[in-house]
Amino acid sequence: AQTIRFAHVDPADWTSSKKGAAAEMFKDVVEARTDMDVKLYPAGSLGDEDELVQQAMDGTTQVVMVSGAMSKICPAAGVLSIPYMFDSAVTAWRVLDGQFGDQLAQHCLEQTGLRTLGYGETGFRNFTNDVRPIETPADMKGLKFRVQDIPLYVKMVEALGGEPTPIAWSELPTALSTGVVDGQENPVGTIYNNNLYELQDYMTLDQHIYGTDFILINERFYQSLSKADQRVLKKAGVMAGYMGRSIQQMTTAKGLKAVKEAGMNVYKPTPEEMDKFRKAAQPPVVEWLKKDLGDESVWIKKLQSAVDEVEQ
């Protein structure tokens, strides 16, 4: 029987780890319906995300589940990170599970030789800080926010009036507790699981960027399989994506409850305030993205119209 190696960087425990749960689902479905073996490599044991997508491109590792690394090999996927693009996770799901998701998958397949089997999610990212509640972009003025070392994030925080400071993830707790930065931005689950709420007083559920998980398979490997097996893999990929989304939603809900109980001040901006965030952040980021994507900036329009269609 053939072996499928499935690698990701999250913990293995399926009850609290989105990618762990997705991988578990994928393994069970594939092993039940085909005579293939699925071996799981969680927690970055085969390398970080950048490594994993490359191994999948070589065919060394057949299936990987990654988030941020995708736009490094298929820049068009970067449009999903346009701030305030999706008003809710459900919108994002419908866009990704609809025509837009299929087209993007096809485009990235041609560009990378990796077939997208399904979309999971790492969730919406939110701002936290230690100085004051943030209700509109005006409240962000002068505050230093730790961001990932990604230009789009830097542009976004700048556009909102904050001061972006790229700092490595491993240094974040120290940077927050010593006041090198005032705030940071992450999904609720991440904020809760890593005890960042102990270092920060205020959270704003502004949901600026929706994080997508991509379940990718090496196309040459995929084509070497029988049509029946391919159908099972496709189905397993979609189900794994759903599983990842569900666990992610659950950890977000649990995390939100817990950080409130821990005394964190959580604010949900009104639709009018959300409009202010969107109007401040989107244009500069879109403009930067247009320059960065060049010919591929049509994907910005495509996403915009897909979102409009779903929201109607």
Binding site: M57, D149, I150, P151, E163, P166
Partner: protein, 167 residues
């Protein structure tokens, strides 16, 4: 080496003093480091500084030992060539991977100089090339070492012949 130190140092200092650091300050020193290792690897070979297992070799008398080390030199030539080749495959298949922290720097350098090739600074290829170069340098270092040892071996046997004849 000096550059690595300067960038890491200044970046930490600027973050501490101004609360701000450069996006590429974390990337460039790492890649410089890889190049440093590759250069150092070749130089260390010439200086015989690499760590080897000494149990058997240390007890062999001088002359056979030199022969053995000449075999080692030749193996290292092969390994160096393979490394270079493997690095080339690596670079061609994965070199286009983008480095997000470097995009802005590469773009502004390109805008500044007008050289469009500078855009590739934001991809992995120029840094992965270190392995290609390192393998090649190692092979050359091993060839030089081999010639040096050969020269010594021949020199010992030809001691009776007047050295002046050579010039």
């Amino acid at each position: 080496m000096a550059l690595i130190f300067l960038i890491v140092f200044c970046n930490a200092l600027s973050r501490y003093l101004f609360g701000d650091s450069l996006a590429w300050g974390g990337q460039i020193p790492v890649f410089l480091g890889v190049y440093g290792v590759m250069f150092g690897m070749a130089v260390a070979y010439i200086q015989d500084r690499h760590v080897r297992l000494g149990i058997i070799v240390d007890f062999i008398p001088e002359k056979p030992k030199r022969m053995l080390f000449m075999v080692v030199d030749l193996s290292v030539v092969v390994i160096g060539v393979l490394m270079s080749w493997s690095g080339y495959l690596f670079m061609t298949s994965r070199g286009s991977m983008r480095i997000s922290g470097m995009i802005d720097l590469a773009n502004s350098l390109q805008a500044l100089t007008g050289v469009s090739a500078l855009k590739s600074l934001a991809t992995m290829a120029p840094y992965q090339f270190a392995i290609v170069l390192g393998g090649a340098m190692l092979a050359i270092a091993a060839i030089l070492k081999f010639i040096e040892r050969l020269g010594k071996a021949l020199g010992n046997e030809g001691n009776s012949a007047p050295a002046r004849e050579v010039s």
